[in-house]
């Protein structure tokens, strides 16, 4: 087996934050003596990513996702533990390392605001020293996959948020990085644009065999792209494995949607009634009893339609967080 592309062992990052009470007196006191507090943002995380994997990196706000991505890309110096990406120590930010990675932050822009994206692309070509033929090929690939054609020659400030994000992603990938870190690449985008970016990332991974680690608050991103997910909470690892295992492990229930045409019947005998909308009941039943309950429902009631589902992934994740908090 080949060495992992990304390797973390007991990675830690502790922020030292100075704190003080509000008010003038407290402000004066803080001049003389500053109270500091150690905040462990990342508290001993270990995982490996193999070449070509697309992994979802999940956790609530403040869980330590962005801090981890910044340590992996070399922006932050870890407080402890080991990290290596493509055999490099990220925080040394060697040029050979920087040429092979990229970090896309959904809330920050690198494109020059007042000029067309194409000009910023040319600048990146020079900075990354991309040979002209490679650059042309990559540009035409990205233009095709992200449908950038009409956008490239407009000043960036005249683009919509979604259009700008597409250009941002293209700019970040021109040097064809082998490792791609994405921090909420679809934040604030509409559903269509989210889907387009998702499709693109899957295609980029397929075409170039790149390793991708992405954070997102949209489960649709994760379901569409990642077989494997890593969940952290308060700086600690809660889960690392297949998305399907996550659902199996953290859900003891299935959801049965049964359509009867009205909401008059009393179904409490069959399971927890979550809701009834326009004649469709949603029931929550223990996983082991799913088959039995379904059978009874079909036998006892005038069922028009019946559907057995896993609970939505959001719910599963929420449960993981809850358990992690305990």
């Amino acid at each position: 087996m080949t060495d992992p592309v990304i390797h973390l062992r007991d990675l830690r990052k502790i922020y030292v934050v100075s704190e003080r009470e509000s008010g003038i007196l407290a402000a004066l006191q803080s001049l003389l003596h500053r109270e500091t507090e150690n905040i462990p943002a990342v508290d001993g995380i270990s995982f490996d990513l193999r070449s070509g994997e697309v992994v979802g990196f999940l956790g609530p706000n403040g869980a330590g996702k962005t801090t981890t991505l910044k340590m992996l890309s070399g922006l932050l110096h870890p407080t402890g533990g080991g990290v290596s990406v493509l055999g490099h120590v990220p925080w040394k930010r060697e040029k050979a390392f920087l040429r092979q990675i990229t970090l896309v932050m959904g809330q920050r822009n690198q494109l020059v605001w007042d000029i067309p994206a194409l000009d910023s692309f040319e600048l990146n070509r020079a900075i990354y020293r991309i040979p002209a033929p490679d650059y042309r090929r990559m540009l035409s690939d990205l233009t095709e996959l992200l449908e950038l054609g009409p956008l490239l020659r407009k000043p960036v400030r005249n683009l919509s948020l979604g259009e700008r994000m597409k250009c941002e992603i293209a700019a970040a990938l021109l040097h064809r990085p082998q490792v791609v870190f994405l921090d909420e690449p679809t934040i604030g985008l509409d559903v269509t644009m989210q889907r387009r970016i998702r499709t693109f990332l899957a295609e980029y991974n397929r075409r170039y065999g790149a390793t991708i680690l992405l954070t997102s608050h949209y489960m649709a991103d994760v379901e569409a792209l990642c077989r494997r997910v890593i969940i952290i909470h308060r700086g600690k690892l809660l889960f690392d494995g297949d998305l399907s295992d996550l659902v199996q492990r953290f859900t003891a229930h299935k959801t049965i949607v049964v359509r009867l045409g009205d909401c008059l019947a009393d179904l409490h005998a069959y399971g927890d009634v979550v809701s009834c909308d326009e004649g469709s009941f949603t029931l929550r039943v223990p996983k082991a009893q799913t088959a039995h309950v379904t059978e009874r429902l079909l036998a006892d009631l005038p069922v028009i339609d019946l559907l057995v589902e896993d609970p939505p992934i959001e719910e599963v994740i929420e449960r993981v967080f809850e358990q992690g908090a305990e």
């Binding site: 922020y15 801090t67 932050l76 110096h77 925080w91 920050r108 000009d119 040319e122 020079a126 990354y128």
Partner: protein, 267 residues
């Protein structure tokens, strides 16, 4: 080296395109660069006229020459990096810069030089018009004019390195304004921006002699005006090279320490 040239060329193009989007603000900067020396020129001319036609060794028309050349040298050597860094650190623009396989100073140098290339022709035109009005006396010496070119380049380099280093205080504090103000006051008195250094009392001249400020503005101006002997010119250029060396070492030390802080507290 080829890669660096390509980087500079592209950065030139980018800045050019951006600057042309901001013609109004560019014009306002230039007006500032004309007005400040013009005010000093008018004040000193008035003082000179009312005290019988000269102050110290400077006649009214000497003042005109001094401030017109100073206006151009100041324009060529000024930077705006100290206003920018705080924003860069706070808004995270620096994070992108750090993740690129090229030192961010290259982009800043290219950015500065290309914007000067746009504005310099206008400044020369303004200087010419002002020369017609104020009738300066300049004793051109061909060798001095020839030496002026490297002197002004070194002045630019020195000022750029020092102001870039000072801008890095943004890594440590969010109140860079105080540092900037202190620096600008020192610059005003000790670089020769407000008045020729020879008119200041001895303590100020001693301070100017041991500090780097005069090498950024005053020295090239005096050289151009033919006020220096060839020996003084050579000593001056040697002093500039020495200060550039010191500034370069300082920049590297501060940059490394700053990036360490940046990557410790969160970028």
């Amino acid at each position: 080296m080829n890669g660096l040239r390509d980087l500079y060329t592209q950065q030139f193009k980018t800045t050019f395109a951006s600057m042309l989007q901001y013609r109004a603000s560019l014009a306002i900067w230039m007006i500032g660069h004309v007005l400040e020396p013009l005010v000093y020129l008018i004040v000193w001319s008035t003082v000179s006229v009312s005290s019988g036609g000269s102050v110290g060794t400077y006649t009214t028309r000497d003042f005109a020459a001094y401030f017109l050349v100073m206006m151009l040298v100041n324009h060529v050597t000024y930077t705006w990096i100290m206003y920018e860094y705080e924003y860069r650190v706070r808004e995270g623009g620096l994070s992108f810069a750090l993740l690129r396989p090229a030192h961010p100073i290259h982009a800043d140098i290219a950015d500065n030089v290309s914007s000067k290339l746009i504005t310099l022709p206008f400044m020369l035109l303004i200087a010419f018009v002002l020369a017609l009005i104020f009738r300066p006396t300049i004793a051109f010496a061909p060798w001095a004019v020839a030496a002026f070119l490297p002197a002004v380049l070194l002045a630019f380099l020195l000022r750029f390195l020092i102001e870039w280093t000072l801008a890095l205080t943004a890594f440590w504090t969010t109140r860079v304004g105080a540092v900037n103000q202190t620096y600008f006051v020192a610059m005003l008195f000790l670089s020769g921006q407000m008045a020729p250094l020879s008119l200041f009392p001895l303590p100020v001249r001693i301070a100017a002699a041991v500090l780097p400020f005069q090498w950024m503005v005053s020295f090239p101006v005096q050289l151009f005006l033919g006020q220096l002997t060839p020996i003084q010119a050579m000593e001056g250029i040697a002093a500039q090279i020495l200060w550039v060396g010191i500034a370069f070492v300082l920049l590297r030390i501060v940059w490394r320490a700053g990036v360490r802080v940046y990557s410790a507290v969160g970028a």
